[in-house]
Subunit: 331 residues, 4 copies
Amino acid sequence: MAEQPAVQINNISETDIEDAIADVARRCSNAGRWGAGDVLGTLNHLDESKRVEGARLVRRGRSFSLAQLFDAEGPQRGWRKRVNPVHTMLSSGLDAEFGPAEFPHGFAGADDVVFMPLQCSTQWDGLGHIFDHGRAYNDRPASQVVTSGGDRVTGIETVRDLIAGRGVLLDVGRALGEDGELPDGFAITTEHLRLTAASQGLSSRVGTGDLVLVRTGQLARARRDGWGEYAGGAAPGLSFSTADWLHSSEIAGIATDTWGFEVRPNEFPGSFQPLHQVAIPHIGLFIGEMWDLDALAADCAEDGVYEFWLTAAPLPVTGAVGSPVNPIAVK
Amino acid sequence: MAEQPAVQINNISETDIEDAIADVARRCSNAGRWGAGDVLGTLNHLDESKRVEGARLVRRGRSFSLAQLFDAEGPQRGWRKRVNPVHTMLSSGLDAEFGPAEFPHGFAGADDVVFMPLQCSTQWDGLGHIFDHGRAYNDRPASQVVTSGGDRVTGIETVRDLIAGRGVLLDVGRALGEDGELPDGFAITTEHLRLTAASQGLSSRVGTGDLVLVRTGQLARARRDGWGEYAGGAAPGLSFSTADWLHSSEIAGIATDTWGFEVRPNEFPGSFQPLHQVAIPHIGLFIGEMWDLDALAADCAEDGVYEFWLTAAPLPVTGAVGSPVNPIAVK
Amino acid sequence: MAEQPAVQINNISETDIEDAIADVARRCSNAGRWGAGDVLGTLNHLDESKRVEGARLVRRGRSFSLAQLFDAEGPQRGWRKRVNPVHTMLSSGLDAEFGPAEFPHGFAGADDVVFMPLQCSTQWDGLGHIFDHGRAYNDRPASQVVTSGGDRVTGIETVRDLIAGRGVLLDVGRALGEDGELPDGFAITTEHLRLTAASQGLSSRVGTGDLVLVRTGQLARARRDGWGEYAGGAAPGLSFSTADWLHSSEIAGIATDTWGFEVRPNEFPGSFQPLHQVAIPHIGLFIGEMWDLDALAADCAEDGVYEFWLTAAPLPVTGAVGSPVNPIAVK
Amino acid sequence: MAEQPAVQINNISETDIEDAIADVARRCSNAGRWGAGDVLGTLNHLDESKRVEGARLVRRGRSFSLAQLFDAEGPQRGWRKRVNPVHTMLSSGLDAEFGPAEFPHGFAGADDVVFMPLQCSTQWDGLGHIFDHGRAYNDRPASQVVTSGGDRVTGIETVRDLIAGRGVLLDVGRALGEDGELPDGFAITTEHLRLTAASQGLSSRVGTGDLVLVRTGQLARARRDGWGEYAGGAAPGLSFSTADWLHSSEIAGIATDTWGFEVRPNEFPGSFQPLHQVAIPHIGLFIGEMWDLDALAADCAEDGVYEFWLTAAPLPVTGAVGSPVNPIAVK
């Protein structure tokens, strides 16, 4: 197994961290690549031919939801006002059966509302979600992208029709972990991804325009042991050192079964989500978090096929910097 | 063109209306058809072979979002507390660029929350959304299905992985309307649907397990003229007389570009959504409302192909009786 | 110090508990006392003369807010969807200073929204908050009082103009506790209340129409040690045995500095808030929870005056079964 | 009756408007008056002796709520995401009576939540609510006062214990209007206020530290005729020319029965709330809007006494730039 890059980057100063991030950001930047007005980022890699290729992967017609429940008993603990969704009824079956009639001829209905942070459960990060030194994707000043009124440039609604294509599962938990799970703090390197793909076989090749799902197994652990610090605590996840691969592979998007995509604690001491700082504002990469990959992974392990047709359509809340999503994989 | 059933059912009493609904409900009931424990209703018709068939319809790889925006300027007017979505930022690009630093090494993020009725924009009605005389789908007492805690039996999360298959557009607005639009109050009968399918050609056949989209053109009108009374006012929509076809056709789901699916004002004088009262609790039919079918319809008109792969995955808010959705059609 | 009633009621069955509650409820019931249509409960005790008496207690003009902050970092832990308030900005000073101008001549504004459970912080319980065997205050069927549409009979708005009168602080924490704090699980009996009043002197007499504030000191402890299980965990509070006094004293309302008013764990093994079950639906008593009595208590200890003018006006959210409140005491 | 200043200021340019506002702002500024750290603004005028004076006005003990209902059927129309409050139940009396038992021994409860803009109904504007050319009260940069996290300096919680004192009603509607109502667009000048006070008699004198309530009668009209454009449309209200009096009178706060305090349309053509632009960031004045003064006004007309004890305690939502409030007047 490859060495942990954490070993290499342990004793550096805040300035060193900023330099390290800036170096990688420079190498990986897609700013200007698709024009000054671009709002799609890596979804530019996902073209129509890729969708035709993806749809051909439907062989048995079995579909999988990759969403966690949006539930009051979810993992959120109120950090930065991120609470779990609060779902309440405007009317219920009890009103229909025992309450005063509100409609004629025996008609009655139940309605409901929800209050939720858009990052509370299974989600896409939009391109306006993360900034580097006040700059957003495509070298835009953050203040000209996301105001209190929302993301006026790269709001999630701008990509509402695009995220359907070939999906590939890299089940690193199963390939390299114990009982299908990587330990918290495990930094997944490019080499780990390569080894996983190799162990899974030909259907796992990753190329331009693919939507890559990386399973760490942490969600399975949380499901068994309780949420604990799933939301923001220690977790397996991608190493900062994968930034170059995230860029050069030309994938359209990537998602994990963890809260924060990257390994936590982050590899630079005292840092916070440095890979996000490169991936979103510089690569323009669509990152999914808190996806539930377990049922799909079990099926892939059984039939040995790790590619599938994936539709992960964000809810087009105007100006949102992220979006709840119920991704559907079909094999 | 077939006669308007509205003509036939104009002068009847409340009791007559109840009897008429009860008659149709009896004829169309799927209660018990898939077992006493069934929670899927007409999604039982959508099996894996149907998904294989649907995926084969992806030829060009062009994708269409069929969602309206979830927007503060949406059509809702507060009826029964249905407001438009309120999306607010927990932090913005202005904070990132000009506010106090909250994270190290130049990292900053924008987060957001939303408050919304689950029926505020493009949506699926769940099986717990409508009751007939206090009974829910599969002849369950409404009170044992939907309490203040939500839908404990048929919550939308129970179908979160299923709604992907063959979609068919019946563009009644284009086939029978003027400039692509049916007038408000136009009741679409089974005969209208048949005529539309016939005019569209072979790709429009509808059968077991299909997801049918009925375009009236009302949304195009609202887009041009302003929302007005789009939310609950007069609208074209399905005639009560289509109930038998909705049942016998064995479709898996059906959606329109209108607020309320059925024609409004409803055909029985003084009635309220009688077709819902049959379709949801008796047929167990999944009904979509406020879908945006215009871009897809324009494409279908151009290439003459009215069938496609459709993924319309509800957001799995636990216990929800409906769900916002961003349906994705791919041709 | 009086014995703990907990000692006496330790080994009883569920039926015994129901009997015990029913016995006390019968003795203390105010059902019918103010007519079949009454919605005011013990606020009937607070008449205009009481307000004149209360206002005369203003001697120095010093005012105290008895509200905790309504804050994202509050004590709530999500139990039964009770989250802390989520306050977000619709626009901010950053938009005003650095964002696009939205108004002419240099005008700019900041607006905000809040989502909160009405019981999330300092609050009044309304009369529709608690039921006994499906019955609400004044022997009404619960279902005819509070539907999904809210409390149609005793909604908090019905008392929006009434809660201003003579307040009395009983600082049991200071009188009987250690360093001003009672330990968690301490059941305050009528005798404890009597001893406290006696130790405080003449200004502490309690009579018809008074608003009584009972300080346990638990909030001071939480402020020092962190919230921990303040919301629903162990706490000092009123003994079930005080029910008779709550009734016979003819007080208009009572509030504590704890989450749940009553001692917790509750005195009957396996029970849940039995004193509420008597006090709200039977006595019709207005109960305040999570009040911050510390600054007022320090002042009372200093000047020896434990009575004051108290205004505790609930926010008239139509149909609410409780209400956030910022009570103001003036001495 | 005094002339309408609107006449004088009709044909001026945007620059002229800015100059006019700047002139008045300079004359009326309280910046620095109470120190660089001040967060109380005109509440500095309301001292303890004023509270003693106010309490002495309680003679009969009759109390009045000056709050409108916080209601889904309120006046808001969604302008800048200001919706009416949405109040929903987490559990209801129907659950208690007919739903599954969730607690032992016959205990059941109803809980509720609310989502609301803090300016949706009866409210105080906080000092962070309005900015002038990016400056907040006490000449602070707006960005250093109100970020997406809320008002970090003058959040409404900073004044949570202060707003209790002598209230005075100036019923301009009754004094100068027809049937107690001023027409929409009527600009109330200082002279109108003086005439009203004179007609009401000695109890209406206004001085340092008073809380002044100005009744226009518009709410009575809205109550009779429907909300119409109450929220933001034409309305009677204070003339821009009252700014000097608002400053020199040294009142602690002022409130009206209208949406926007100032006359609307605003007197400068094309302007937006210019009096706010002076009153809040420069005078540091606490402004109340959408108060319900009708019952109090009727009582004052009857007994001829226009002064009273007023408690108007804002809900201390941390960092809020405004607050819902249920003001209580006692005579």
